[in-house]
């Protein structure tokens, strides 16, 4: 299974990963449109990106969510009817929506953000066992 692994102990909360992600998928620099979310706290930052656990897949009434051959949960826009049951079902709060869009979005472990991280706080990792 391929997923984006987060290492909050390394994170410096520079938010460049959010910029990279939202620029790639929404062509804007907007953390509300990023598939990875960094929240600053009094201690180490909270990092939120999909773990590809697949729980959301079960919740989808139209089978718009599926797990691809690499173990990544994908959203099929053509089948999605924007009910957001998956957002509520996600145990890590990693399925997102944004104003003006119907289809929710999530990290697909593309790795674009990892190339921009200056602190080695995010890595694409593969777990062959799962």
């Amino acid at each position: 299974m391929k997923s984006l692994k987060t290492y909050p102990e390394n994170c410096v909360a520079c938010h460049v990963c959010e910029s990279a992600c939202s620029n790639l998928y929404f062509k804007v620099d907007d953390p509300e449109k990023s598939r990875i979310r960094i929240t600053e706290t009094d201690s180490q930052p909270r990092m939120n990106a999909c773990t590809q656990c697949g729980i959301c897949v079960q919740s989808c009434p139209t089978l718009a969510l599926s797990i691809n051959s690499q173990g990544v949960v994908m959203v099929n826009q053509a089948l999605c009817i924007g009910c957001y049951m998956c957002i509520a079902a996600c145990p890590t709060g990693s399925m997102f929506r944004t104003i003006g869009a119907i289809t929710p979005f999530k990290c697909v472990a593309c790795g674009a953000c990892t190339k921009t991280c200056p602190a080695d706080a995010i890595r694409i990792e593969e777990n062959k066992e799962s």
């Binding site: 079960q58 919740s59 989808c60 009434p61 139209t62 089978l63 999605c80 009817i81 924007g82 009910c83 957001y84 049951m85 957002i87 509520a88 079902a89 929506r97 104003i99 119907i102 289809t103």
Partner: protein, 711 residues
């Protein structure tokens, strides 16, 4: 592929829904093979809103004062409401069916899930109005992708819904991957022979790869469908998106829906467990509170009821699937028993998928008949559905017949050899298969309790007074499955219900009997005003009631009026405004309902009912009819005699105490009627006053004209 002839065809312009409305309805005359589009006026939207309101308005102008259920001009209307079909807020996929009921002779309304409603709405129609009788078996096909409506011949061999729905879905879907875009309304063979019928609304379950069926259950709607020689309605619509209902404020709609999704995600597992077991969770609660019907509502409890508890059904339900009957319903209460193999009837030995059973079916086909094997209940559920028979009326009718059997009013000679001893599931199976075959004593049971009372008194010399006391019907409709004996408010909740005794107008037993929150007549009258009006609103909008109070916000108990679930009422206000763009608050919400509710009341009067005498329950719903019932709750009843009537029960024979209790309870009920009618703006005879109709804005000339006949 079935060889069909096109008997009539109508093309229409496809247009987007705007703010929840199409502003047109579809009229089909099966006799004249006429199909046309009717405009929706501003007046219709202002006064009737949509859904049940549109149904009743169209029906009013389609039928005559003396129209009977099987007259050609009787209409079968299916409407959807402005909020219907949105995919954001749980419980938003309901159709509302109305017709002049074969059981009651007045309008019946049913609120039903499945995909038909939203697809028919997005195909371009706010309501479908079907009139006339075809001269051969037909189907009506609405192609919402192409903008065509067709009446087509129906040489289909199958009538029973679990097969017919699947066949039609396969026939009209472009390919197997698109079966989810087709939905079917049908009724089975039973609906051709009995009055206690229902309609099945399908939704294609992509995971199970079966057509699931939801029921427009009450009042005999399936019998009307089959009397019109209409085998099915089919709709195809492939364009569903998250904004197809075209709301003015998608963001608010989505945020409100998401808030409820999260509430359900967090709360359902510890509240009603709707996602785990559906409404079956009520079985053990009702048994604990002495409210589960046993032996035709004689008792409210049984030691054997644990065998029908939700835990037992959970073992049969396939778990972990999103079992919503419309997209976006995270409450997902409809459960299915997959891989079920019936032990009786024409499908014996075959593998079928069965929807439910829901609480009402467990009560009706299980505890009330003393059938304690959950698999027998599942099998009765399966056959009721596929034959197009209402599990509630079926259960209550069979329970009545079994009690008559117990008393010797019926015997094997009179039932054609069927043993109707309590708990004899085989006898009950034989009844339902006879209903489907149109033969034997099953057909008499299938006419419902009201007609059985007449037959048993006439043919078997049974005591009409006893039959009246134990026959659990009012207005001609069978009671649904809660014991109302110890809750005066619920006696009213059932019996004031316009269509007949169904719990969807008011369920007040806990407020009244358990928590004593509405002690005075005025309190009860207020509850019997507010809740029926609030619940009517779901039927105007195309919504389901369950996400209102079968999930509650964590802090609901701390609010001023927890029974109303104030946060959810506000959700409804918010999503109504978000979709329609019209002003709304919690007061106008009630006012919208009040207009349609009073219109329906006057409609009942126009059809010859709606009188005070129609709102009187059988005594079984009010108190103990038999000595054994009295003795089963002797402590309660003796203590009531003392505390409420000031009568010392000591030394009095049971028969005398029963008589005293009955006198008191019947008097209390009459006082309740007075209080409720006054609160509703009606005369003591139950006639809405002209002043009241004017004050709520339901003073249309045709309404006033009917009311004047009664004043």
């Amino acid at each position: 592929m079935t060889d069909r002839r096109i008997l009539a065809e109508f093309s229409y312009e496809l247009k987007p829904v705007i703010k929840g409305y199409n502003r047109r309805t579809l009229y089909i005359d099966l006799g004249g093979k006429k199909i046309e589009s009717k405009p929706v006026s501003d007046m219709m939207i202002d006064k009737f809103v949509g859904g049940k309101g549109f149904d009743l308005y169209l029906m009013w102008h389609g039928v005559k004062d003396d129209t009977k259920w099987n007259d050609p001009e009787n209409e079968l209307c299916i409407a959807f409401g402005p909020l219907c079909g949105n995919t954001s807020y749980p419980g938003s996929g309901k159709s509302i069916v109305t017709t002049i009921s074969p059981l009651t002779g007045i309008p019946v309304d049913c609120n039903v899930g499945g995909h038909f409603g939203p697809y028919a709405k997005f195909s371009g129609w706010d309501a479908i109005e079907i009139q006339g009788k075809a001269d051969e078996e037909v189907i009506v096909y609405i192609d919402g992708d192409a903008g065509k409506v067709k009446i087509m011949s129906a040489p289909d061999k199958e009538t029973n819904s679990h097969i017919l729905a699947e066949n039609l879905i396969n026939e009209f879907a472009e390919n197997p991957d698109k079966r989810q875009f087709v939905s079917v309304v049908s009724a089975g063979q039973g609906a051709e022979n009995v009055l206690i019928s229902c309609l099945n609304f399908s939704f294609w379950d992509k995971r199970r790869k079966v057509a699931r069926l939801k029921q427009a259950g009450r009042g005999g709607t399936g019998t009307v469908l089959r009397d019109k020689k209409l085998k099915a309605l089919v709709v195809k619509y492939s364009g569903l998106k998250g904004d197809t209902n075209n709301p003015v404020d998608l963001e608010t709609l989505q945020k409100t829906g998401l808030k409820l999704h999260k509430e359900i995600e967090e709360g359902d597992a510890t509240q009603c467990r709707m996602r785990e077991v559906g409404t079956a969770h009520l079985v053990e609660i009702m048994n604990d509170y002495d409210l589960l019907p046993v032996k035709n509502f004689k008792y409210g409890q049984s030691d054997e009821a644990s065998s029908l508890s939700s835990g037992e059904f959970k073992k049969l339900f396939t778990q972990g699937l999103p079992d919503g009957c419309w997209f976006g319903c995270s409450l997902s209460c409809c459960k299915a028993v997959d891989g079920f193999v019936p032990r009786t009837g024409p499908y014996k030995g075959q593998t079928v998928s069965v929807d439910g059973p829901e609480y009402e079916t467990v009560g009706g086909c299980g505890s009330n008949l003393c059938i304690w094997d959950p698999k027998d209940v599942v099998e009765l559920n399966f056959y009721c559905d596929t034959y197009g028979i209402d599990t509630i009326s079926f259960g209550t009718s069979c329970a009545f017949a079994m009690e008559c059997y117990e008393y010797g009013i019926l015997n094997k000679e009179r039932t054609g050899g069927i043993d109707l001893t309590w708990g004899n599931a085989d006898g009950v199976f034989e009844l339902i298969h006879q209903m489907a075959r149109g033969e034997g004593f099953g057909v008499i049971v299938g006419q419902g309790v009201k007609r059985m009372k007449e037959v048993f008194a006439r043919n078997y010399n049974a005591d009409p007074k006893l039959l009246q006391d134990i026959g659990m019907e009012a207005k001609g409709l069978e009671f649904s499955q809660y014991l109302s004996k110890e809750s005066l408010a619920q006696q009213g909740g059932y019996t004031f219900a316009l269509k007949g005794p169904q719990h969807d107008e008011a369920w007040l037993i806990f407020m009244d009997m358990v928590n004593n929150r509405i002690p005075t007549f005025e309190d009860k009258a207020e509850a019997l005003h507010y809740f029926p009006m609030f619940r009517t609103w779901f039927g105007l909008q195309g919504l389901c009631k369950l996400p209102w109070n079968d999930i509650e916000p964590a802090n609901n108990a701390e609010t001023d009026e927890p029974a109303k679930v104030p946060e959810h009422v506000q959700n409804y206000v918010d999503i109504y405004k978000a979709i329609t763009g019209k002003p709304m608050d919690k007061h106008e919400l009630i006012r919208q309902s009040e207009r349609v509710y009073n219109f329906q009341k006057v409609f009942c009067m126009r059809m010859g009912k709606g009188r005070r005498s129609d709102d009187i329950p059988p005594y079984r719903a009010v108190g103990p009819v038999t000595e054994e019932e009295y003795l089963s709750r002797q402590e309660r009843y003796d203590s009531l005699l003392q505390s409420k009537q000031g009568i010392d029960p000591a030394g009095k024979p049971t028969a005398e105490k029963m008589s005293l209790l009955r006198e008191y309870r019947e008097d209390q009920y009459q006082q309740l009627i007075d209080a409720v009618y006054k609160r509703k703006g009606w005369t003591p005879e139950g006639i809405p006053t002209i002043e009241h109709l004017q004050s709520i804005g339901m003073d249309l000339p045709e309404v006033i004209e009917v009311v004047k006949r009664y004043l």
